[in-house]
């Protein structure tokens, strides 16, 4: 069965690329545009990986990350944070709140696809 990826971002243009990228890599792709939609989607049907932007409406990426990690049933969900916040402390905060990896915009789509693949195969990002 194909692995599933939830792409959470509020920018349609980057979502278009991420969706295309993930589909091409052979994953089931779902989309969410804000924090609440993302959480609802994760609880309804836990994806294998969430590509999570931090600056999203309603509940930000940190909150979504923390909520996922607080739920033991979701412990297998990998989280890769994707964000425009590039400061060291923000990366540290994301990882501390339970993210498995962190990518700063702009990123190489090739590298991002590789990291997603690694995370999904159980390797460290």
């Amino acid at each position: 069965m194909a692995k599933s990826v939830l792409v959470v971002d509020d920018e349609p243009n980057i979502m278009l690329s991420l969706e295309y990228l993930m589909k091409r890599a052979g994953y089931d792709v779902r989309l969410a545009r804000d924090g609440e939609e993302a959480l609802a989607s994760v609880i309804a049907s836990p994806p294998d990986l969430v590509l999570l932007d931090i600056n999203i409406p309603k509940r930000n990426g940190y909150e979504v990350c923390q909520a996922i990690r607080a739920n033991p049933e979701l412990k297998n969900v990998r989280i890769l944070m994707v964000t425009a916040k590039g400061r060291e402390v923000e990366i540290e905060k994301g990882l501390a709140l339970g993210a498995d990896g962190y990518a700063t915009k702009p990123f190489s789509t090739k590298e991002l696809a590789e990291r997603v693949a690694k995370l999904l195969n159980g390797a460290d990002a």
Partner: protein
């Protein structure tokens, strides 16, 4: 008892004793002789003895007279002369001509007197020299303080202000609360100062300052009472090491709020821009990479990604545009700029040409406030003028500043040709003398400005340079008026501990006064007449502090009658838009503080104040002196106690143009008060209590006179 008698009386008594003893001794001796002699010698003895007795008494009287004339009197004269010499006049001549019976005494006294006079003169000369050099040092100190770009306030240990500089006024944005002898806490929040002074005091008393890296200084953060400003400064103790006592402290401070704000702004801009740029770049890069690998036949997907490219590149460029705009604003304000009074700025410019006969440069127009870096702007203006002189043969220049709608303008006008844009460009690209190595373009860039030359009509050309308007409001007339060159910014006499206790027993010379005057729409406050101007000056330690004057026009909220305009020169237009009395009175109340209020015919002015004070929730319960009454005490021979009459009596000049302006009259009244205080002392009136009591008596006398 004996000592109270004068030398002459004592000599007289001495001779009188001899004169009285003569008849007794002679009579006694002859009586004993008569007992032993045979016959009847009594008549002979009486006759000859009596004659001898009278002769002896005559001799005694004669000797006494000589003695009195030539010994006792000269000695007394010398004593009196020496007293005069000692206590009053060292040049006084000692009269020794009549003391010839006194042998060497007279010449010796004269020598001593001369030596004394010389010594006195030497001391006087030294004192004069010392005073002179002290004055010089004082002037230097004043100059340094004036130019310091840091706020400086010196207080005594009970937090009363002894000294402040112009910058302190500027930073704190106060005019009324600040004044010599005033409590610091009428402006600034008390706690930080009390705590810091405590800390430093214990550091000093425990001797820890000897090893402390900051010695007797420490930093502190403090605020204005109304919370409008947060400031950072340093407090340093002034100590009297001999007495191991703290006499006061120096506070230096700067307004860092704006610099801090700029820094925060620039940091925020950098962060937000970085973030904002990442989004479009991320979208672009992802889309481009997707397009790259896309099968050639997927036309729909290709179109979708091309749309992304178009949108995101547009977003990227507008993002860059915004960044450029905001960054420039920050760079501009990072160049140190301050609010500058155009009068100071342009005078600094014209001073450069004072000794240059080839250039005639004058300031014209009303001064305004603007915001710029004065050093580089003056250098730029001076460069433009010199260029116009050399290349356009212009010789007469006028410099001015004016306020526009959103910016202010500095203008240089000359008689002659206009500088063409290319010529201006060349001038502005040259490095400028005294311009910190900058070119005109760079200086203008810092001010986010441009400069151009335009025809000004009548064969004149004008260079205009827009500059930002002032950052803070300089609206009050008290602060827009150029400050007098010499301000009474300090009074070190206050370092001596404040004499508290009952104010009534305070000497009139030691009191702080606010001499004030109001101009009104008419004479009847209870009938709707209102204040249209209020002014005051402070007197401290016998000095009129002209630099701390209060002067404010007031919108009376009614028409100014033509008669009032004729007397005061204040028209309806002048008061329109000025603050109302409800705003002015609290400021005046702050200005007055704990001083004694003085006015010429104070009852009139006080009536206006008291009618308004309740509305403003204030009380003017200060002691009040009336110069009309004080004048009546010292000049009881006349009924002429108008301000003009009294001022003339004391030869105090009131310039006609300031008579019947509140400030002019206040200043004249203040001068009158100082003279009156001197004369009151002659009448035995020395304290405030005595002056008020005497005033009350005059009021009572006048009331009785009015009955008849």
């Amino acid at each position: 008892m004996n000592e109270r008698l004068s030398l002459r009386v004592r000599f007289f008594l001495f001779f009188a004793l001899i004169a009285v003893a003569v008849p007794f001794l002679l009579g006694g001796g002859l009586w004993l002789a008569a007992q032993r002699l045979e016959g009847n010698p009594t008549p002979h003895l009486l006759l000859f003895g009596g004659a001898a007795g009278f002769a002896l008494i005559g001799v005694v009287v004669g000797v006494w007279q000589l003695f009195d004339q030539n010994v006792a009197r000269p000695i007394q004269t010398i004593v009196r002369d020496l007293q005069t010499l000692l206590h009053a006049n060292p040049q006084h001549e000692v009269d020794t001509t009549s003391g010839r019976y006194l042998g060497l005494l007279a010449p010796v006294v004269r020598e001593i007197a001369d030596a004394f006079a010389n010594a006195r003169a030497d001391v006087d000369k030294e004192v004069t020299q010392a005073t002179h050099s002290l004055n010089e040092q004082r002037q230097q100190l004043e100059a340094i303080l004036r130019e310091l770009n840091e706020g400086v306030i010196v207080c005594n240990s009970s937090h009363r202000i002894l000294l402040y500089n112009r910058r302190a006024l500027q930073i704190l944005g106060v005019t009324e609360g600040m004044g010599l002898g005033r409590p610091l806490f009428s402006i600034l929040n008390e706690q930080p100062f009390v705590l810091t002074l405590d800390r430093l005091t214990s550091r000093y008393l425990e001797g820890r300052h000897e090893t402390h890296p900051d010695r007797l200084m420490t930093g502190l953060v403090f605020a204005r009472n109304d919370g409008s400003l947060i400031l950072e400064g340093r407090m340093s103790l002034i100590v009297d090491d001999a007495d191991h006592e703290i006499t006061g402290y120096v506070l230096t401070f700067d307004d860092v709020t704006s610099e801090l704000k700029e820094l925060i702004k620039s940091d925020r801009l950098m962060r937000s821009t970085l973030e904002e740029l990442r989004h479009p770049v991320a979208s672009l890069r992802a889309a481009v990479e997707m397009l790259d690998d896309m099968p050639a036949d997927d036309a729909d997907a290709r179109r979708a990604f091309q749309k992304v490219l178009a949108e995101e590149s547009q977003r990227l460029s507008s993002e860059l545009e915004r960044f450029g705009e905001e960054y420039r604003a920050i760079v501009t304000s990072q160049w140190p700029m301050s609010d500058v009074h155009s009068g100071n700025l342009l005078n600094a410019l014209t001073r450069q040409f004072r000794n240059d006969d080839s250039i005639l440069c004058d300031v014209t127009g009303e001064p305004i406030w603007l915001r710029c870096d004065s050093t580089t702007v003056v250098a730029l203006l001076s460069h433009i003028i010199r260029r116009a002189l050399i290349e356009l043969d212009a010789q007469t220049f006028l410099v001015s500043a004016r306020t526009g709608t959103s910016r202010s303008y500095i203008e240089v006008t000359w008689e002659g040709d206009v500088a063409s844009p290319s010529m201006m460009e060349r001038w502005l690209k040259e490095p400028i003398e005294r311009g910190l190595g900058l070119t005109g373009v760079e200086i203008l860039e810092h001010h986010k400005s441009e400069a151009w030359c335009e025809p000004a009509g009548g064969g004149k050309a004008r260079v205009r340079i827009p500059v930002p308007p002032p950052a803070s409001q300089h609206t009050a007339t008290t602060s827009t008026a150029p400050l007098p060159i010499r301000l009474e910014f300090y009074d070190f006499n206050l370092l001596k501990p404040a004499q508290l206790g009952a104010v009534a027993d305070t000497s009139l010379r030691d009191l702080t006064y606010v001499v004030f005057d109001t101009e009104t729409t008419g004479l009847e406050p209870s009938n709707g007449d209102e204040i249209i101007q209020i002014a005051g000056v402070r007197i401290l330690n016998g000095r009129i502090l002209t630099g701390e004057a209060f002067d404010q026009l007031v919108d009376p909220g009614r028409r100014v009658p033509p008669l009032a305009t004729r007397i005061t020169g204040i028209s309806q237009e002048m008061v329109a838009g000025k603050p109302r009395i409800d705003d002015v009175l609290p400021r005046f109340h702050d200005y007055v503080g704990e001083s004694v209020l003085v006015a010429h015919n104070a009852a009139f002015d006080m009536k206006f104040l008291q009618l308004k004070q309740e509305r403003c929730n204030l009380r003017f319960d200060n002691p009040v002196l009336d110069t009309v009454l004080l004048s009546a005490i010292v000049h009881d021979h006349t009924n002429q106690h108008t301000l003009d009459a009294v001022a003339e009596r004391f030869s105090i000049e009131i310039p006609p143009e300031t008579r019947h302006t509140a400030l002019g009259d206040s200043l004249a009244t203040a001068g009158v008060l100082l003279k009156l205080i001197e004369l009151l002392e002659v009448h035995g009136i020395r304290t405030l209590g005595e002056a008020i009591e005497a005033s009350n008596k005059i009021v009572e006398i006048r009331r009785r006179q009015a009955k008849y």
